[in-house]
Amino acid sequence: MNRPILLAVLLSLFAATAFPPGEASALSGQPVPFSHKTHVAGNGIDCRFCHIYATRSASAGIPSVAKCMSCHRVVAAGNPSVKLVARAADEKRAIAWNRVAKLPDHVYFPHHKMVNAGVPCLFCHPGVDQAVETVQKRAFTMGWCMACHRQRGVSIDCWTCHK
């Protein structure tokens, strides 16, 4: 094994063991350039219009290609990014988005419980409404979750949020 490859392997091992950073800026390069700012701040679209499962399910969900095209058949149809989505829709091909907000597997986070209890989306995902490139600015640390749960008198039993 030559030296640069060995170095790369070592670096990647290090990266894999490090806890995911709160400011995940390295996760650019989404398959389709998508600006939350244009949609939320610019056009005033509610989060739940696209993340339709947020009030109903543990996962908020990412909009389907059909959901995007329900507006973009007409709106901004000439935009190069929209054209990428339109092509996916024509080819009936799913888009694999890169994950931005990461929770470890042993955490159970029910979006619907939070949203229905009145926690604003931006409380946990600050600045997303202004983001041209989506990043998760708030680190999901257990202490941060617990502080809020304590303040609101919500259960802090381990199995409320762990699985």
Partner: protein, 236 residues
């Protein structure tokens, strides 16, 4: 439900109904991502079942008699496993469950040694689910990694799911709504589960049965599992 306050989960096991068929064991493994070990590991006493069905011989030929006793975690009120954990990985929650925090567990196995019922099992290895067997894994639960103790949780993920459903529908939990996997599948209906704080629940009625006893009660563990004695011989 007439009672106030929270839930106190408990189980009743009617030995007069239990046939020893082991359906509970497979149901549990399927629900809780319990790994398969191997013949070799099983030979070292490392089977991972969260519930087992003990068979006790009471007499032999020519009048053989035996009895089957399913043994899940007793979720003791005064659990011997809890005070010995140096990292507080096993604790008692507000609903009378003896719960495990897998991420805290450092694998001392003190808890298992101190459990009089031998219901705790230890992950000696990172257990693999050879693909595509991993497709069956329950997404409501994590897969425990090497060096971590695990045991019956009374299917806490089902308790959580039922509570969520009830709160979405803006109502209280109904008796019988929370059913652990073993209880749900048990063909003769030997296993019962419910809220001991609700005096009218099926399990509360069962634990008032005169046949009741608890396993190794003299140890003062205050188990949440109540057994109903098998009535042998009589009955007619």
């Amino acid at each position: 439900m007439s009672h106030g306050g929270g839930h106190k989960w408990g189980m009743a096991i009617d030995l007069d109904r239990c046939t020893g068929c082991n359906a509970c064991m497979v149901a549990c493994s399927a629900e809780n991502n319990v790994p398969i070990t191997s013949e070799d590991q099983a030979g070292k006493g490392r089977l991972m079942h969260w519930i087992r069905v003990n068979r006790y011989w009471q007499s032999g030929w020519p009048r053989p008699e035996s009895v089957h006793i399913p043994v899940p975690c007793m979720h003791c009120g005064k659990a011997p496993c809890e005070p010995v954990c140096p990292v507080y990985a096993t604790y008692h929650n507000e609903e009378n469950l003896n719960a495990m925090v897998y991420n805290r567990c450092v694998g001392t196995r003190y808890c298992a040694n101190n459990c009089p019922y031998s219901v705790r099992v230890f992950n000696w290895f990172d257990n693999k689910w050879e693909g595509p067997l991993d497709e069956q894994l329950n997404p409501d639960l994590s897969v425990r990694s090497r060096g971590v103790m695990e045991k019956c949780t009374f299917c806490i993920q089902r308790i959580r799911r039922a509570k969520e459903q009830a709160s979405t529908e803006n109502r209280a939990l109904r008796d019988g709504e929370v059913v652990p996997a073993c209880v749900q599948t048990c063909p003769p209906g030997a296993l019962l589960f419910g809220d001991l704080n609700d005096p009218d629940s099926e399990v509360s009625r069962a634990v008032r049965n005169l046949r009741r006893f608890r396993l190794m009660e003299h140890l003062g563990t205050e188990p949440s599992v109540t057994y109903l004695k098998r009535v042998k011989g009589g009955g007619t």
